[in-house]
Homo-oligomer: 337 residues x 2
C-alpha cells in the first residue's frame, strides 16, 4: 500500500530563490537569469549569484517552475509487473518514444495486485498529464480516478469511448498456431491459460475457436501463474490430467518457457514428445533451447502506439475519434513446435 507521502522531508527548510538573492545582494530575477543562463546579465554578478546558490545548496522548485512555464509533459505508465519481459519490452519502447518528445515517464508497478492498482490510480491523477496502462479494474473505477485525463489502455478492449485502447489481435495468429500443430499431426492439444481474475482470457477464446475449426477437442486447459515456475507446474498438472496431450499452446511466452523447462525435466524432448507454442514473441524466446515458437506481436510497436495515441488525445478534444488501434500477433515458427 502507498504510505503517507513525504514522510521523510529534509529537515532544513527549503532554500528559495529569495535566500540566494539576499545572500548575493541582488534581486530574485537576477538570480533567475544567472541560473537559467540568460545572457542579459553581467559576468561578475552571474558568478556571484552562482556561488551564493551553490553555497546555500539552492535548487529551484520544480513546482514553481512548472507552474510558470507550462511545458513539461509527464506520462504515467502503469504495469502489473516490470519483471515480466512483456511489460519490460513495452515499457522500454514507451520510454524511448516519450524521450523523443521530451516527455517524462513515471512508472508504476502494481505487482499485479488490485489493491496496489487502486492506490496508484488514486495518486496518479495529481502526478501526471496522461496515463498509459494495463489495468484490471472495472472501467467505472478507472473513469472515476482519471477524470479529464487522457488514458490509453493496452491489451484490453475499451468498452466505453472514454478511453483509447490498443487492442492485441491474435485471433488469426492463434488459428495459424493450431493449424500448424494439426498439420504436424497433433490431435490432442492443451492450453496453459493464465490464472484469470474472473473470466477466461480472450486468448483462450481464440484457442477454443481455432481448435473447434480444426476438429480438435479444446478441453485440456489449466490455469497458470504468469511465471516460468507457474508454467512448469501447470504443464505437470495438464499432463497428469490429460496424458495424451502432445502439444500445448500457452497464454504467454513466460509460461511457455516454464513448460519447456518442465518438459526437459521430465525427459520429454521438444518438439518431438511435446510441441510448445507461446504468445508474445519475446526476445527471451530466442535464448531458450529449443527457441520458442510463438504467436508474436510487436511489443515495441505497442509501446510506441500508446505514446502516439497520448499525443493525439492531447491535441484533439474529446470525444475520441474512434480509431481502431491494433497490434496483430502472428505465428512465428521456431524450434519448439
Amino acid at each position: 500500500m502507498v504510505s503517507t507521502p513525504g514522510a521523510e522531508r529534509a529537515e532544513p527548510r527549503k532554500v528559495t530563490i529569495n535566500d540566494v538573492a539576499r545572500s548575493a545582494g541582488v534581486s530574485r530575477q537576477t538570480v533567475s537569469r544567472a541560473l537559467n543562463d540568460k545572457d542579459e546579465i553581467d559576468g561578475d554578478t552571474k558568478q556571484r549569484v552562482l556561488d551564493a546558490a551553490r553555497a546555500l545548496g539552492y535548487r529551484p522548485s520544480r513546482f514553481a517552475r512548472g507552474l510558470v512555464r507550462q511545458d513539461t509533459m509527464t506520462i504515467g505508465l502503469v504495469i502489473p509487473d516490470l519483471l515480466n519481459p512483456f511489460f519490460t519490452e513495452v515499457a522500454a519502447a514507451a520510454l524511448e518514444a516519450a524521450r523523443t518528445r521530451g516527455w517524462h515517464v513515471v512508472v508504476y508497478d502494481t505487482a499485479d495486485r488490485a489493491e496496489e492498482e487502486r492506490g496508484t490510480l488514486q495518486v496518479i491523477s495529481s502526478q501526471v498529464d496522461a496515463v498509459i496502462g494495463y489495468f484490471s479494474c472495472p472501467e467505472s473505477e478507472l473513469e472515476a480516478f482519471t477524470r479529464g485525463m487522457p488514458v490509453v489502455l493496452i491489451g484490453r478492449e475499451g468498452r466505453s469511448t472514454r478511453f483509447s485502447s490498443i487492442r492485441i489481435d491474435g485471433e488469426e495468429g492463434v488459428h495459424a498456431a493450431v493449424a500448424h500443430l494439426v498439420a504436424k499431426g497433433h490431435t490432442r492439444i492443451g492450453m496453459l491459460d493464465h490464472h484469470t481474475r474472473a473470466e477466461p482470457s480472450i486468448r483462450h477464446t481464440w484457442f477454443t475457436a481455432a481448435a473447434a475449426a480444426h476438429g480438435v477437442d479444446p478441453g485440456a486447459v489449466v490455469g497458470a501463474d504468469q511465471t516460468a515456475d507457474g508454467g512448469g507446474s501447470a504443464l505437470k498438472e495438464l499432463l497428469s490430467a490429460h496424458p495424451d496431450v502432445t502439444a500445448v499452446f500457452t497464454f504467454n511466452d513466460i509460461i511457455a518457457i516454464g513448460a519447456l523447462r518442465e518438459a526437459r525435466r521430465t525427459g520429454r524432448s521438444v518438439p518431438q514428445d511435446l510441441a510448445v507454442i507461446g504468445f508474445d514473441g519475446l526476445q527471451l524466446g530466442a535464448l531458450v533451447e529449443p527457441p520458442l515458437t510463438s504467436v508474436a506481436l510487436d511489443t515495441r510497436r505497442l509501446g510506441v502506439l500508446a505514446i502516439e495515441q497520448v499525443a493525439r488525445l492531447l491535441s484533439e478534444p474529446p470525444p475520441l475519434a474512434i480509431t481502431d488501434l491494433v497490434v496483430h500477433a502472428e505465428l512465428r515458427l521456431s524450434g519448439s513446435a
Copy 2:
C-alpha cells in the same frame, strides 16, 4: 536527443479552478473543498461543483498543488538499458521500495549513449528531488548537473564525497569462480569482458587477479556487446584466437547466455566441452539450458539500498557520512560450470 518539451500541448487553454468556480457560481476555495473531499461544505453545493468540474473536464494542476502542499517526492532513476534484465531487476526493486514510501519514480533509459545520458542529466534536475543512476559520464559533469540534489550511484565507485554510491563487490566471488574452474581441471580460462568505453572493467581486474592467484594465464580476453548476440560473437572470436580455452568467465549473464547459445550452435556441450560462468545471477539464468552458473548478486537489494540511501540523504544534511554501501556477489553453482 531530447526535443523541445511540450511541443504538443493541448489546444484548449487549461481549465482552472476559477473556471469551475465561475461555472458553479461559487468561490475557488469552495471548489477546492469539494474536490478534496473536505467536510466543511454543503452536500448540494459539493455536487454542483463536482458536476461543473466534470462538465468542464477540469483537472487540478499538479504544479500548483505541489507548490502549496510540499509533500511529493519524486526520484529519477537513470539506467542505460531497461531491456537488460539486470537493470530491470534493479528498477523493479527500486520501484517497489519507492512505492512503500509513497514516492514516485521517473525512469530514464539512456540507451547506453553518452549523448542521451547528458540530455537526461540536463533535464532531470528540474523534474525530480533525487537521482539514482548508473552513469558513465565523468563525475565533474554529474556534479554540475545535479548540484544540490541527492545522488546515489549504483555499480560505480563514487570518488568524490559529493555522491553516495553502492558498490558491487565481486572480488571474492570471481576468485571463487576461477578456483572452481581450476578445481574442475581447466587450465586455460578465457574472459568475455564488455566493450568498455575506456579502461577494462573492474570485473576484468578481479578476473586477472584471480587467474594469477591460481597460476592461470589470464590473457584470453575479448570484448563483447552487452547482449546475447554480443556474447555469441565474442565467444566465437575468443575460441578462434584461443582454441585451447575450455572455460569462460563473462562480464555478465547476458553475455554468458549468448556464449551458451553459441557453444550449442557449434556443437560443444556445456559444461563438458566448455564451462561458462556469468556475473549478476539474473533470474533469467535459471531458464536457459543448462542453467547458468554465475557470480550472483542480490539485484533486489541493490535497488532497495539505493532508495534507502536516498531517504538517508534527504534527512541528513551533507557532508555525507561515509557509509560503505556494498552488495557482495558470490559464486552460485549451477549447470553451466
